[in-house]
């Protein structure tokens, strides 16, 4: 139980990623492939986020106290109190990249459909050969 709780995220990450990877490689429908791709990417994002989580920590916005003149009061900041910002930044980028890829993939899908009148990879390959 202890093990599951400690590593539950990572196990789910692996399963999600592999599900996505399998979908990308094995599924035939182009839209499904793209959904699988997005699932694969979210799996990776979850991996990063899980590694950046800290038990009992807050979101990475520093609680800043100010004096009456609105000057920040100097305080010591404890790393333990805030979740890891670095992994979050990386994943912000990854999400944006993901949606960009998704969009481009969808554009291609539309073009493939108007070219071959099908979204089924096998069918398209059949018409080509």
């Amino acid at each position: 139980m202890e093990f599951i709780i400690n590593y539950y995220n990572y196990i789910i990450v692996v399963i999600i990623m592999m599900l996505g990877l399998w979908g990308m490689l094995a599924l035939s429908n182009l839209v499904k492939k793209l959904i699988s791709m997005a699932i694969f990417q979210t799996g990776i994002i979850l991996f990063y986020i899980s590694m950046g989580a800290k038990k009992g920590a807050s979101i990475p916005i520093i609680k800043q106290a100010y004096d009456e003149h609105h000057h920040p009061i100097h305080q010591t900041i404890n790393n333990m109190d805030y979740a890891n910002p670095l992994t979050q930044i990386l994943m912000l980028t990854a999400i944006v990249v993901g949606v960009a890829t998704l969009g481009l993939g969808l554009a291609l899908t539309q073009r493939v459909y108007s070219e071959h009148k099908s979204l089924h990879e096998d069918e398209i390959l059949e018409t080509l050969s």
């Binding site: 599900l19 839209v31 800290k54």
Partner: protein, 345 residues
């Protein structure tokens, strides 16, 4: 950090993922995928990644789903199934299993979930948390790292959005004068709409009309207040884009293009990245390295080197928001009209 909640939502996520892949109706699949994304937001919020959750909610679950739906409308929603693929699927399953086992074996080697002392949580990230306020005056560490410490990354991230838009636009855009069956349609930029599009619900129109200003106001807040609260250029930009998409959905393309024409879209998308890169270039001319905002205090009034960083971050966030807004909008227009820019969802 509610552990049980985390576990439950993760299990649900898994369920959604499986469903999304196996539902035969593509529309259903997309909707389940949208749910998957929202659940994912929840998990990320639980893990303390509020900015990521915010972004996923707007980008992944929001705009991403819209894109998928647009595509399904332009193509087909039926996923035909053929038995002859089974062998390939089994083979891929074996491949994936091997990779999966490889990864599962690492799990025990990884630091435990939520371990604040793991290398990933101490080395660089600790530096950012401890120095963000002193070095940039920005309490939201995510923003300061995003726009300053790793600002160079973010510039290219914006570029990715730009590229996606230009790519999709150039792939899909069809100018009717070029196509063979020009007889059936009128010139595209001057759009006449097919009659069924006119039968729009007044309720939807009014509701969206009412919603849009608040959405945009909120978006501007998200952009501007990114230094202090979750959010920033990406999230705000996507919300702004979403408000425009809402208009385009509830009204029609003519209305949508009257707000932002094709030419303006291209112009603004480039302009957003240009603002970002331009700030970097100004740093060149002021004698700093690229994106070294601190030198900007030479031209910004009443700022020291640290506040200059803070101000410049706002500048780049605006650039990001501009690009993201317009490109999300542009991508939607391209995808939903299959590049014809005449009618969408």
């Amino acid at each position: 950090m509610i552990l049980g909640f985390d576990i439950i939502s993760l299990s649900l996520i898994l369920l959604c993922a499986v469903l999304a892949l196996f539902i035969r109706d593509l529309m259903g699949s997309v909707i389940v995928f949208g749910a998957y994304s929202f659940l994912m937001c929840v998990v990320w919020a639980c893990n303390g990644a509020i900015d990521v959750a915010f972004t996923e909610a707007t980008v992944g679950a929001g705009v991403g789903t819209v894109f998928l739906v647009s595509t399904i409308y332009s193509t087909t929603r039926i996923d035909t199934f053929k038995k002859n693929r089974l062998l390939k699927q089994l083979f891929m399953f074996a491949v994936v299993c091997v990779v999966g086992v490889l990864l599962l074996k690492t799990v025990t080697d990884l630091p435990q979930w939520g371990d604040a002392g793991s290398p990933a949580n101490t080395h660089l990230s600790a530096y950012y948390i401890e120095n963000s306020i002193d070095q940039t005056h920005v309490p939201n560490v995510v923003t300061s790292v995003l726009a300053d410490y790793r600002g160079f990354d973010t510039m290219f991230e914006t570029c990715v959005v730009f590229v996606a838009f230009i790519g999709i636009f150039s792939l899909l855009r069809i100018r009717k004068s070029k196509t063979k069956n020009a007889a059936t349609t009128s010139p595209t930029t001057e759009l006449t709409l097919p009659p069924h599009q006119e039968v729009d619900s007044l309720i939807i129109k009014t509701a969206s009309h009412l919603m849009v200003p608040f959405m945009q106001l909120f978006a501007l807040y998200v952009v501007a207040h990114g230094h202090y609260s979750p959010g920033g250029g990406f999230q705000g930009g996507v919300i702004l884009g979403a408000s425009l998409i809402l208009l385009a959905v509830s009204y029609n393309f003519k209305k949508a293009l009257s707000i932002l024409s094709e030419k303006k879209i291209i112009l603004l998308v480039s302009l957003g990245v240009l603002i970002y890169a331009g700030i970097g270039v100004i740093c060149f001319f002021l004698g700093g390295n690229f994106l070294d905002y601190s030198v900007l205090h030479k031209i910004l009034p009443a700022t020291d080197t640290i506040m200059a960083r803070s101000h410049a971050m706002l500048g780049v966030e605006i650039g990001v928001a501009l690009t993201v807004m317009v490109s999300m909008y542009g991508i939607y227009l391209s995808l939903s009209s299959n590049g014809r820019f005449d009618k969408g969802l």
